[in-house]
C-alpha cells in the first residue's frame, strides 16, 4: 500500500470563499483521483488528476468549480471554488497501485456555512 496524507483534515469555510486541499503520497504513482462523499452516501468520482496535463472531469463536475493541479507524481491539489453549503462533504484523494488496487487518503471534511 501507500501512505497518503491530506491537508487540511477538516475546515469550516464561509460561503463564497475557496479552499485548496492537498494530497501527498509517499511514492510515485501514475494514477490519482479525487472523490467526494456526502453525508450518509457512497463515494462519487470528481476527476482524474493527470500529471502534467489538465484533469479529466466526470459528468457534473467542471474545472471552474473544482480546479485540480498535479505538478508531479506524488502530489495533487483540489480547490473547491466559490463554495456553497451544498459543497459540504468529505473530499478524498486516491491512488492506484499494483493490480489496480486503489487506496484512499484520510479525507478532508469540509463544512460550508
Amino acid at each position: 500500500s501507500a501512505v497518503i496524507s491530506q491537508k487540511p483534515s477538516r475546515d469550516i469555510c464561509q460561503r463564497g470563499t475557496s479552499l485548496t486541499i492537498q494530497c501527498q503520497v509517499d511514492s510515485q504513482v501514475t494514477m490519482m483521483f479525487w472523490y467526494r462523499q456526502q453525508p450518509g452516501q457512497s463515494l462519487t468520482l470528481i476527476a482524474t488528476a493527470n500529471q502534467g496535463s489538465e484533469a479529466t472531469y466526470e459528468s457534473g463536475f467542471v474545472i471552474d468549480k473544482f480546479p485540480i493541479s498535479r505538478p508531479n507524481l506524488t502530489f495533487s491539489t483540489l480547490t473547491v471554488s466559490n463554495m456553497s453549503p451544498e459543497d459540504s462533504s468529505i473530499y478524498l484523494c486516491s491512488v492506484v497501485l499494483g493490480r489496480g488496487e486503489q487506496y484512499f487518503g484520510p479525507g478532508t471534511r469540509l463544512t460550508v456555512t
Binding site: 463515494l43 468520482l45 482524474t48 466526470e58 478524498l92 493490480r99 489496480g100 488496487e101 484512499f104 487518503g105
Partner: protein, 112 residues
C-alpha cells in the same frame, strides 16, 4: 454508464450471526474492490478480486467474484461489534483508466 447495485442498504444483526452483502451489475468489471469505512474515517481497502469465480478469505470475511465478473458478495461469519461500519463495493475497468464505480454502500450494525 456502469451501475453497481449493493444490497441490502442496511443490516442490523446480533453478535455471532452471519451476514452477506451483495454487489450486482449488468457490466463486466476488470476488478472489484471491497472497502470498509468506520464512522468518521476514510475507506479502507479490504480486498481486490480480479478473476471470475475467485474466492478470497480474510479471517471471518469471504469475498467472491462472480464467474462473469459482474457481481460479487461479501460474507461475514460470526459477526462481531468491530465489524460495524459502511461496506462499499467498487468496480474498475482497466479500459476506463481504472476509475472506480461505487455501489451505494451497506451500513452494517453488529449489536453485542
Amino acid at each position: 454508464t456502469q451501475l453497481l447495485e449493493q444490497s441490502p442498504q442496511f443490516l442490523s444483526i446480533q453478535e455471532g450471526e452471519n451476514l452477506t452483502v451483495y454487489c450486482n451489475s449488468s457490466s463486466v468489471f476488470s476488478s472489484l474492490q471491497w472497502y470498509r469505512q468506520e464512522p468518521g474515517e476514510s475507506s479502507v481497502l479490504l480486498v481486490t478480486v480480479v478473476t471470475g469465480g475467485e474466492v478470497k478469505k480474510l479471517k471471518r470475511l469471504t469475498f467472491q467474484f462472480g464467474d462473469a465478473r459482474k457481481d460479487s458478495s461479501l460474507h461475514i461469519t460470526a459477526a462481531q461489534p468491530g465489524d460495524t461500519g459502511l461496506y462499499l463495493c467498487a468496480g474498475a475497468r482497466w479500459a476506463a483508466g481504472n476509475k472506480l464505480t461505487f455501489g451505494g454502500g451497506t451500513r452494517v450494525l453488529v449489536k453485542p
